[in-house]
């Protein structure tokens, strides 16, 4: 009975997937690209490692859209990839990136089966954005779009594999206008007997009543191991239930109030020792938006995230900071592992997480120490203020953010950390010129005895200048600067959210990535970009620089 809902959804959808009529219409779409990179590494005293790299690939993702009937679609994306230099079939791979069945039952209930994109709220299911950009230049966002595409990062959705139902109830002539339902179950991982990993599913639902006063929602996500799929040793489960709402201006004049609150419970059942470990906690987040003063968009909110609030689908970091690129992996005659930086995160073969898991992944405090796991980062309380002014001048938009947070309970000590973040971004379009700028300054502090003291600051700056040279030809350029100094205790969390390793780490680093190039547009969706990048990295242990030339031809069709 416990998992009847999930099984029911599977069976329900399976029935409809079988009862298809024969194919009536097939259409094609897709993306293709060629990405060629040439990189040169400069580092002092290195006679033992390669310092040049030249590689790339071409690929086509051919999407096939099959419409068996007016209310059913099957979508699949096939990939053919050819590495640069693979002649006559050498280094060619084939893949399938997607297989989804979509449809609607009796014009009332939508269903999706297979590869589906899911998102609920920032405290339940939410794929948090990148931490390595503030307001990135076009030349870099062009490249970042590849990372998003490859890892299925579409806005804040998670690509999952399972089934989903969506429907709505309507109440004509009533203050309660409609209630939207969203129910899903996905398979998180399969059972692997060798590693004692049981089958794990991820289920959830969202019920959102829409009223004249505003929208309210009840949301539940549930990540859980299925019993008896292997010789069980340990079973994990996590539930998070939240209530959210937005109140229209009619309710409070000139103010939009919003809130979300909820709690979570995480259980680990050890079937060998019969131990049951549980953690549970709550959170709340409340705020408002207004445009009442000086034409400014103002948003103020306060939050309190309990230290043991856990929602794995909302507490994630996209980038695996522990990953190491295979390009210039070792440098100098001392065979030092090259510290990864913003060039690697954008261009090289580092790993991004395209699935969440039960633990909090390693974070990098010099990129985001305040809210490393997104808005649902546990053990945080504080205030945020956001000011946005559109059309400050014609074509100019300015955004200012300030965040003041602190831990709720101390980690490894009774002292708590405080965090301050100041962030601003600017977009300006004037004639043929487009300027983008963003800066984020973050400060972390903890007082106490010497071993407790933490004092860390970091700064990220993004700048970009695009100039339209001709109708389809643009000069694009950008710069990214990242620097940090101070100390922090790097934390490794166990599955119950307890930090079990604290590594004292000292930072004194600066990295700069600058780039310029030409972008040629073919129609509305295809571009050829040639760019040159200059990257430098320095910290107290090692300095190096990388120069890079890239040709990137992207076709969208």
């Amino acid at each position: 009975m416990k998992h009847l809902l999930s099984i029911g959804i599977f069976l329900f959808c399976s029935y409809f997937s079988i009862a298809q009529e024969r194919l009536k219409k097939v259409e094609f779409y897709g993306k293709a690209r060629t990405n060629l990179l040439h990189q040169n590494l400069n580092v002092e005293v290195d006679t033992t490692n390669p310092n040049k790299a030249n590689y790339g690939h071409s690929l086509i993702d051919l999407g096939i859209l099959i419409r068996p009937s007016n209310s059913t679609e099957i979508i699949t994306d096939l990939r053919i990839r050819n590495e640069h230099g693979g002649f006559f079939g050498g280094a060619v791979t084939f893949g399938v990136r997607r297989l989804t069945l979509k449809g609607i039952i009796d014009d009332k209930i939508r269903y999706n089966i297979g590869d589906i994109d899911l998102k609920i709220t920032p405290y339940t299911l939410h794929n948090n954005s990148y931490q390595t950009e503030v307001n990135e230049a076009t030349i870099f966002s062009n490249q970042r779009s590849l990372i998003s595409y490859e890892n299925y990062f579409k806005e804040n959705y998670w690509r999952q594999q399972g089934a989903q139902l969506e429907f709505a109830l309507v109440y004509p002539n009533s203050k309660l206008q409609e209630i939207d339902f969203n129910i899903f179950t996905t398979r998180h991982n399969t059972a692997v007997a060798a590693s004692s990993t049981p089958e794990r599913l991820f289920s959830g639902f969202s019920v959102v009543p829409k009223t004249l006063l505003g929208n309210f929602g009840i949301h539940t996500v549930y990540l859980y191991d299925l019993k008896n799929t292997i010789n069980d040793i340990q079973l994990f489960s996590n539930r998070a239930h939240t209530l959210s709402g937005t109140l229209n201006k009619e309710f409070f004049k000139n103010y939009n109030f919003f809130f979300e609150t909820g709690y979570s419970k995480t259980k680990i059942e050890d079937l060998i020792s019969n131990d049951l470990n549980e953690i549970e906690d709550y959170f709340w987040n409340i705020g408002f938006k207004t445009q009442k003063f000086w034409g400014l968009d103002i948003q103020l909110n306060a939050l309190n995230n309990g230290a043991y609030y856990r929602a794995p689908g909302a507490q994630n970091i996209r980038l695996n900071y522990l990953t190491q690129s295979g390009v210039f992996n070792l440098i100098s005659n001392d065979q030092v592992q090259r510290p990864m930086g913003i060039l690697d995160y954008l261009y090289n073969d580092v790993n991004y997480f395209n699935q969440f898991d039960e633990s909090l992944d390693a974070y990098n405090p010099i990129f985001n120490n305040t809210m490393p796991y997104g808005q649902a980062t546990p053990n945080r309380k504080g205030l945020s203020l956001q000011l946005t002014k559109k059309q400050l001048l014609e074509g100019l938009t300015l955004n200012l953010n300030g965040h003041m947070f602190s831990e709720i309970i101390g980690v490894g000590t009774e002292e708590i950390k405080t965090f301050k973040v100041y962030q601003s971004s600017l977009n300006y379009k004037y004639n043929r010129f487009t300027i983008k700028f963003g800066v984020k300054h973050e400060k972390t502090k903890r007082d106490g005895a010497n071993f407790e003291k933490i004092d860390l600051w970091s700064r990220q700056i993004d700048g970009g200048l695009d100039i339209k040279l001709m109708n389809d030809l643009d000069f694009i350029s950008g710069i990214k600067i990242h620097e940090a100094s101070g100390n922090e205790l790097l934390l490794d969390y166990d599955i119950l959210n307890n930090p079990f390793i604290m590594t004292p780490t000292f930072y004194n680093m600066k990295q700069v990535l600058s780039a310029f190039g030409l972008r040629l547009s073919f129609g509305s969706h295809s571009t050829l970009t040639t760019s040159y990048n200059i990257y430098s990295y320095e910290d107290s242990n090692i300095d190096y620089s990388i120069n890079q030339f890239q040709i990137l031809y992207k076709l969208n069709f």
């Binding site: 094609f28 030249n54 071409s58 053919i80 893949g95 109830l169 001709m470 069709f557």
Partner: protein, 622 residues
């Protein structure tokens, strides 16, 4: 909680009406509707039976022979069983193309291999006030610039038609292949003829101001060997797909960059060409293996005379720059009674470009035993080459002419060449008769130092032999003579067409200048080959063919001698073939070939083989 949910959902579903939903696929992108798919099927069966099996290798303990009989289904090393060319034009200026290939060796496993042949190609074009530009990325792209920078040798269209190339196109008229060769002097070739394979980024600009045209290349040629790890599609994880470096076993650069700027002036044209190759011999990118070639090519046409040429210089690593000149005068028969094609060439020993028509015979650029996988083995060392083929460290003259007698078309050519400086102590020559047959002894590899005397090397659809020279007996640079002689005859008997072609290639390498090939012992190597083939078109659907080939190679005592006979090479190669071309239906043809082959070297007695090779090829174009 779940129970509550079910009750909740059930309640709302039964009491209230459901909202009507529009069927829209939120994620549905803009689609295009038409994919162009074409391709070909090539079923290939081969049976080989040895009367005298070929010795692969010998050692003190054992002698390893090729199996006496072998059969093969599928020939993926040459062309896959099924090739699908897929492409779409997305808008006026954007297109893509790729292909899929499948093959199965009919071994009862039903395990179909799949791959691509030409890979992924993306196209784009744009118009500016400066001209029209088109670009292409990915590859393989078949491209050419000029003879000395980026082009494959086309020769003078003297070849045998009996042995079919896998890529030979099907023609609407079954006999077109043989009639074209008689009428026009050449057969229809596919896009790779005369072009070089290229992988990367290319851009061409046409109609630029003042009649200029532009071409730019950045990427990899076949000489830019890339080392990959084994790609296993069955275990490939999609999550790794973004990894740019996932299949590379080395990221050390190996690429070419080049370009051409040409200008048309009335009937004449002038072009500046450049090709530069960059690679490294070591694993850390220190020992460079770079070359650079810059040339001017031109074509001038007058009433009865045209002059076509290319002049340039090339630089290889630290060697000093070397010149390269090839100037061809083509006369009309109104001027010289017979049409002549006279070319003077001089290519410095230091001029190096393996992407050009120029064979490298003087610079030891690679360890040939290390070539594997997709690497293409090329001849190294002094080489006996055909008429008109350019090589570095060589200067000479090539003369070609053709004329027609009442029953015959005759064309002949001669190249007289010599080495500019003393070459290596090795000489190579390709086996003309049965060359493809021998290369298929080593179907799955490009290997060197093969055979009972470790003197055979395999390249794509051919083998060449390495001759060691006694340096102490050499007192002059090597000189080369080559003559090609071809007679073509065509007649009709009762509406049946006959085509008879004879092709003779005669080569010698010696230490003195000679106006003709040397036929005595003073030649280090003498090589004579004769190929006589006959095609009888019985009907529009059926053609019979016969083939006779004979080749003699004789070495003198400056070349290596056998340890037992103390005698140099004395080789005889024979071939006798029968064939049938049959048109099964429109765009579907069957080709049958049966070839008796034999080889013997009376002085290197282990190097002998004799057998019968039968092939059946079904080809379908769609």
């Amino acid at each position: 909680m779940v129970r509550v949910l079910i009750i909740f959902v059930t309640f709302f579903l039964t009491v209230f009406s459901l909202k009507a939903q529009e069927f829209e696929i939120n994620t549905k992108p803009k689609t295009f509707k038409k994919l162009n798919i074409s391709g070909e099927y090539r079923g290939f069966f081969q049976q080989r039976y040895f009367h005298k099996p070929y010795i692969l290798s010998t050692s003190i303990d054992d002698t390893l022979y090729l199996p006496k009989q072998s059969i093969l289904f599928g020939d993926a090393t040459q062309l896959p069983e099924l090739t699908l060319n897929i492409g779409a034009t997305l808008s006026n200026n954007v297109a893509f193309g790729t292909d899929l290939t499948f093959w199965n060796m009919k071994q009862g496993t039903f395990d179909y291999f799949r791959g691509v042949h030409l890979g992924v190609n993306l196209y784009g074009s744009f118009k500016t006030s400066l001209g029209n530009f088109s670009l292409r990325t990915g590859g393989i792209q078949w491209l050419k610039m000029s003879r000395m920078t980026f082009k494959a040798f086309e020769g003078y269209n003297r070849y045998s038609l009996f042995t079919r190339n896998p890529w030979d196109p099907l023609t609407k008229d079954l006999g077109e292949r043989y009639s074209q060769y008689f009428d026009r002097g050449a057969i229809s070739q596919d896009e790779r003829w005369g072009n070089q394979a290229f992988h990367g980024f290319s851009m061409s600009g046409l109609g630029l101001p003042n009649n200029f045209n532009l071409m730019l290349l950045y990427g990899k040629a076949q000489s830019s060997i890339t080392q990959f790890t084994t790609v296993d599609n069955t275990t490939l994880q999609q999550s790794q797909q973004f990894f740019n470096t996932q299949f590379y076993s080395s990221l050390i650069p190996s690429y070419v960059i080049g370009g051409s700027l040409s200008k048309n002036i009335s009937n004449h044209s002038l072009a500046l060409n450049s090709m530069n190759g960059l690679s490294f011999n070591d694993t850390i990118g220190v020992e460079s293996n770079n070359y650079s070639v810059n040339t001017i090519s031109f074509q001038t046409y007058f009433d009865n005379l045209s002059v076509i040429g290319e002049i340039g210089y090339g630089k290889y690593d630290d060697l000093s720059a070397g010149e390269s000149i090839a100037i061809k005068f083509k006369t009309d028969k109104s001027l010289t009674y017979l049409p002549f094609d006279v070319e003077y060439f001089r290519v410095s020993p230091n001029f190096y470009n393996n992407n050009s028509e120029i064979i490298n015979s003087s610079i030891n650029d690679q360890d040939i035993t290390q070539v594997e996988g997709q690497g293409v083995l090329r001849q190294n060392g002094s080489a006996i080459l055909g008429v008109g083929q350019l090589a570095n460290n060589r200067t000479g003259l090539t003369i070609n002419t053709e004329f027609q007698l009442p029953l015959f078309k005759i064309n002949l050519g001669q190249t007289i060449a010599k080495e500019i400086k003393e070459g290596s102590n090795q000489l190579t020559y390709g086996r003309t008769i049965n060359g493809v047959t021998y290369s298929e002894f080593y179907r799955w590899q490009y290997a060197s130092n093969l055979g009972p005397y470790s003197r055979l090397n395999k390249f794509y659809r051919g083998v060449y032999e390495t001759v060691n020279l006694d340096k102490f007996q050499l007192n002059n640079n090597l000189h080369f003579n080559s003559i090609d002689f071809q007679i073509k005859h065509h007649h009709k008997i009762n509406k049946h067409k006959y085509y008879i072609y004879y092709l003779g290639n005669y080569n010698s390498a010696q230490q003195k200048l000679s106006p003709f090939i040397i036929t005595d012992e003073s030649a280090l190597i003498r090589q004579y080959s004769h190929q006589l083939e006959k095609y009888f078109q019985y009907s529009s659907k059926l053609i019979f063919s016969t083939y006779l080939g004979y080749e003699r190679v004789v070495g003198n005592y400056i070349t290596d001698t056998n340890d037992e006979t103390f005698m140099p090479r004395n080789q005889k190669t024979r071939a006798l073939g029968l064939g049938i071309d049959y048109k099964l239906s429109d765009k579907t043809c069957l080709f049958f070939r049966s070839r008796y082959f034999s080889f013997e070297d009376t002085n290197f007695i282990l190097d002998e083989s004799e057998g019968l090779e039968t092939t059946l090829e079904i080809k379908v174009n769609f």
